[in-house]
Symmetry: C2
Subunit: 670 residues, 2 copies
């Protein structure tokens, strides 16, 4: 393996965009000390300065249409954004708020007049904005937001109002200090009728920075991390904005107060609007994976360098990374980081495919395809009438983004924690960066959708698919399907499969053959295992839900009883998708790195199965003997990967400025 070959393969098609951000970071070494040394207000202003610099370098514009000063390169934009996670994460998040969320809302939810009026300013950073969705009393349940936007036909204005303390906009980036305008999500009330949540552009600050009349702004104060982002709160007291403030791509209100939308069903309209904002989740997942790379680069280099204890009688202590426990703590996480990298690359490809395709057909204004009949592919969805083209693909993309975001951000939390602990007291010092990484990334599991809620969303989507394919089976097929399920259950209950499996699983005597674990390193074996788990869990959840409903129980109680099962099923799905993305990446890899990548892949695959071995044992899919053999093989693969562990983190290409910390390179700091 060559490190540069591996790095090129990881960088993929957006290498150029990534390298631009790398170069910027390398020039910004001082940045890494700001987070912990500057007073908060100064830090926030410094981050704003950096935002202006990357804007001037043209990075954010890359992702926007050319007619508004953009570069029209969505994939390069996402890749570059992810790379910002190698640097100061407040900058990454502030850029995400400004370009991904605020400008993104204008682009995706607005129409030509909004694009013409605001987009160039938003992309250039001349107009700093907020994305005012979350409220103090309403986080995940966006449909229940309390803020109202009531149309006053007598003046042709919307009146934006916060009716109670729980409806206060909260945790809003750019709100405490820099934002001049907010994309406000509110219940749209027209002619006394509520049409659900819509988005409007509401100015909140004058040019001199003071709040506009009727707008009360406050500061969320210090946070665990990301203190370079000015999160704040917004309360509206009957604030009037013109009718044109409504971002009206999916619903319009005319001067007389007539509400119209091509999407009749309010739920569907709501989810369609939200769906256009999927880019945020795609980006956060990628950023989390990249933050994990930074932590692993630091911890693995440190583990290779640092010595402790050692063989009795030996003068030299052993490297931390030579200890099995240290390998166990870090190397499966390294393998999973590779896996998630490839899963994220697949997600970005799909995102670009879908959003670029739409852009081709619906440039700039991106309207719904009017008059198109409901497609057979969205059977079972509520409502009717024209749909956004590619709705089914979009829903699939949303689920994939939600799942990758949830798993990627939890991975970051776990990985950075493990890295901190693996570096002991040195890892606790701010100068070694793990502390800041840990504090800054901790909220990733919450923002852009709470992870548990997201995995629920993934599972619900799959259960709907499931119901659809079920629905399409003819009666005989249905009967067969049920019978197959019943056999499955019967096999488990009778404990027949454990015996069958045990015989089949008999692991050959390890000293007898050259490669006794060959079967365990077989891609097909891994796929079979993760697919079995996904399908079994989904069908199990479906069965439990159906049984509860059939028994006449309250739907909420039925669901709640299965909630842990539903979320585990969502996770099982994502695990399968991630594993198969890694398989594909190994198969497509250049010869010179394929073998090495296969080792890491095997480590990931077997560690994944190992971590769920209780479930496999419970479901007769692993014999006790094979389960233990997998643990032994994970240990062996850790040892096999250890000699190239430093090369494997070097291949991430994190700039030295971000990882050459004192505990790793003491000479540079003495």
């Amino acid at each position: 393996m060559t490190t540069s070959g591996m790095r090129d393969y990881l960088d993929g098609p957006y290498k150029a965009a990534r390298d631009v951000v790398r170069a910027g970071l390398a020039a910004d070494a001082e940045l890494f000390d700001l987070a912990v040394t500057l007073p908060r207000e100064d830090y926030r202003d410094r981050v704003l300065g950096l935002l202006e610099r990357i804007t001037a370098e043209g990075h954010p514009a890359r992702g926007f249409p050319k007619e508004y000063g953009g570069g029209g390169d969505l994939g390069g934009f996402i890749a570059g954004f992810e790379m910002l996670a190698f640097g100061d994460l407040s900058l990454m998040v502030k850029a995400g708020v400004q370009f991904g969320l605020f400008a993104g809302a204008i682009l995706h939810l607005g129409t030509e007049r909004h694009h013409e009026e605001y987009l160039a300013d938003a992309i250039s950073g001349r107009l700093l904005g907020c994305f005012a969705m979350t409220e103090t009393g309403h986080g995940s349940n966006v449909q229940a937001l309390g803020t109202t936007a009531t149309y006053d036909a007598s003046t042709g204005e919307f009146v934006v109002h916060t009716p109670n303390p729980a409806a206060r906009k909260d945790y809003i980036g750019n709100a405490a200090r820099h934002g001049r305008m907010a994309a406000v999500f509110a219940q749209l009330v027209v002619g006394g009728e509520s049409h659900g949540v819509h988005c409007l552009l509401v100015p909140i600050r004058s040019a001199d920075g003071s709040p506009l009349p009727g707008v009360t702004l406050s500061d969320c104060g210090p946070k665990l991390g990301l203190n370079g982002v000015d999160n704040g709160r917004i309360v509206f007291d009957q604030v009037r904005v013109p009718r044109e403030a409504l971002l009206d791509r999916y619903a319009q209100v005319d001067a007389e107060g007539n509400y119209a939308s091509e999407i009749e069903n309010p739920d569907r309209r709501f989810f369609t609007m939200l769906g256009t904002l999927v880019q945020g989740r795609v980006s956060v997942g990628g950023a989390a994976i990249n933050a994990s790379k930074v932590a692993l680069t630091i911890a693995i280099r440190y583990g290779a360098r640092r010595r402790q204890f050692g063989a009795p009688g030996s003068a030299e202590e052993a490297s931390l990374l030579d200890y099995r426990m240290h390998q166990r703590r870090l190397l499966p996480l390294l393998a999973r980081t590779y896996a998630l990298h490839f899963a994220q690359a697949e997600l970005v490809d799909e995102f670009v495919r879908i959003f670029d395709r739409n852009n081709d057909k619906q440039p700039a204004s991106g309207r719904v395809v009017e008059g198109e009949p409901a497609s057979g592919r969205v059977e079972g969805q509520p409502g009717s009438g024209p749909v956004v083209e590619g709705e089914h693909d979009r829903r699939a993309l949303e689920a994939q983004a939600a799942g990758t975001k949830a798993v990627g951000t939890w991975h970051a939390t776990e990985t950075i924690q493990a890295c901190r602990e693996a570096c002991g007291g040195a890892g606790y010092l701010a100068e070694n960066r793990l502390a800041t990484l840990k504090a800054d990334t901790d909220v990733f599991t919450t923002f852009e959708g709470d992870n548990t809620v997201l995995l629920q969303l993934v599972a619900k989507g799959l259960l709907t698919d499931y119901r659809e394919s079920f629905g399409k089976l003819d009666p005989l097929g249905t009967a067969r399907f049920i019978a197959a399920q019943a056999v499955e259950i019967a096999v488990e209950k009778a404990s027949l499969r454990p015996l069958v499996e045990r015989l089949r699983d008999a692991v050959p005597n390890r000293s007898d053959t050259a490669d006794p674990d060959a079967g365990l390193r077989d891609d097909a074996y891994h796929s079979g295992m993760v697919r079995f788990r996904e399908e079994h869990m989904l069908s199990g959840v479906a069965r439990r839900l159906k049984a509860g409903i059939d028994a006449g129980d309250e739907p909420f109680d039925v669901f709640n009883r299965c909630q842990d099962h539903v979320i585990a099923a969502g996770r099982a799905h994502v695990d399968r998708v991630v594993l198969e993305a890694f398989q594909t990446a190994v198969q497509s890899a250049p010869e010179e790195i394929r073998e090495q990548l296969k080792d890491i892949y095997d480590l990931h695959a077997l560690a994944t199965i190992e971590s769920e071995r209780a479930w496999y044992l419970e479901h007769g899919r692993l014999s006790p003997g094979r389960s233990k053999a997998i643990t032994a093989l994970v240990n062996e693969l850790c040892a096999a990967v250890r000699p190239v562990a430093v090369d494997l983190v070097d291949a991430f290409g994190v700039p030295g400025a971000a990882v050459d910390v004192p505990m790793v390179v003491p000479s540079q700091h003495e």
Copy 2:
């Protein structure tokens, strides 16, 4: 159950000492904002001010002998110290450095002249000191420290020196700003011969705060948390101290340069000296458990108050804590916090018993019992000659302290993380305290002994016991023992037990009997399970180690191959001790709270078995059916505990000032 009854039971014999600290905290509400708003130097000085205040209130003195101004109440001292974890953790840690470590080293390693000269000043805070053990290049491996203290007989002085950058004292509390003297651990060299690590008192700062000649002090800079503690670095350049600076309880150097120690074996001497410092580990474990209580109080109150989504068609959203997943995230951690509370209380009792007994027999000077022959109870220990009385009990105490510290601090990290995530974005704001708790406690898993190293120590101690009891068996007994082991292995290999177990485990049809899970809630069942696991893992490790050595492999490699197994065995031991401490506590509880405590106990016991169910399945100790039944019962117990969850956290008695944060009690903050 009454909350006050539960609280009294939890407070136990040291209720008065706990209430003193509670009252102090309640008076100090402003304290909680200092950590995130004050510049670091000011924060450090404020924490010093608080240290002086609690000193004036007489809290730290409680734990020291009366002749030096103390109160002679070791148990109350530890209990009070643990309670400091309800407040600002920098204060807790700074108090630990000053009174537990610095004054503790003088008390336990010094002799009468040191006590007379320094102890009253150390206890009163007039003499602020450091505990200078850890070096940049040597954390866990204290025996390999590089700092030297070389006796110069010509002047009657020790020369303290830092021979290379790796020997720099690092992360030392009180070193950056306030410490005037340091208890320095160094290789003692007398007459050209090294006698291993000993401790000396070395002045480092003059009264005006400037470093003394030959002493270079620097600041570790900002940290993830605990920024109210002035951690720093110390480098010695041939610093001379008088011969009397040596803390000479266990080894003496006379004016002519003759070294003498009642403990001939250097390893044993070293571990005896370290062992006297066990109080630090006892205290940190207790503090971590109490920090978990604060986080759970906040998160569970928030979860009971906060509503999100809900039954379709219902106007009212459901409480977060009514969701199964939310219960799953928090309530098993609540149950484990109760378990650890009782395990910690047991540990403190044992600590008081051993150290108070020693104090009775060896007041103040606490000398070794000279001339006493080696006790049969320390058979198998290296070396010979007189031993410290109760050495065996002390080693057992050290292991128990190490295990409780490791498990308690990891528990705190996990619990506070879960609480933060369960409170979403609000949990990320400093005003709601979870952020600070998380950042401050994160290093607990590292300091006072890295947790993985500590669990290894626990397991090694047990393996030694194991070898001892093995050694005492007569030949026939040995043969039987081995045969029993062999049968055990054979049973597993033949997969006989899974079948036997499955038949025995057949869970009755749940609708048939009044209490179908009765067997699963049986204390004896739980004990049997955790004992089986502990014993099986220890014997398995012993077998693997023996096999490796018998095969002639390098001992280091043999050990390293088993390291994950060794650490898991240590963990299994601690899990068993904790579970049984909880059992005892339930049995001894007053009638009025016993039933409630039993529910929490059952939740803890079954969640513990559930978390290791893969292992039990692999070892034929759980059938798949029973394994699933346990998961189902954990869910049911979560639901059963949910209605009293708020009462159960209220019983911790965390003062309102520490937990009435804006997200929990918004009205107080508007």
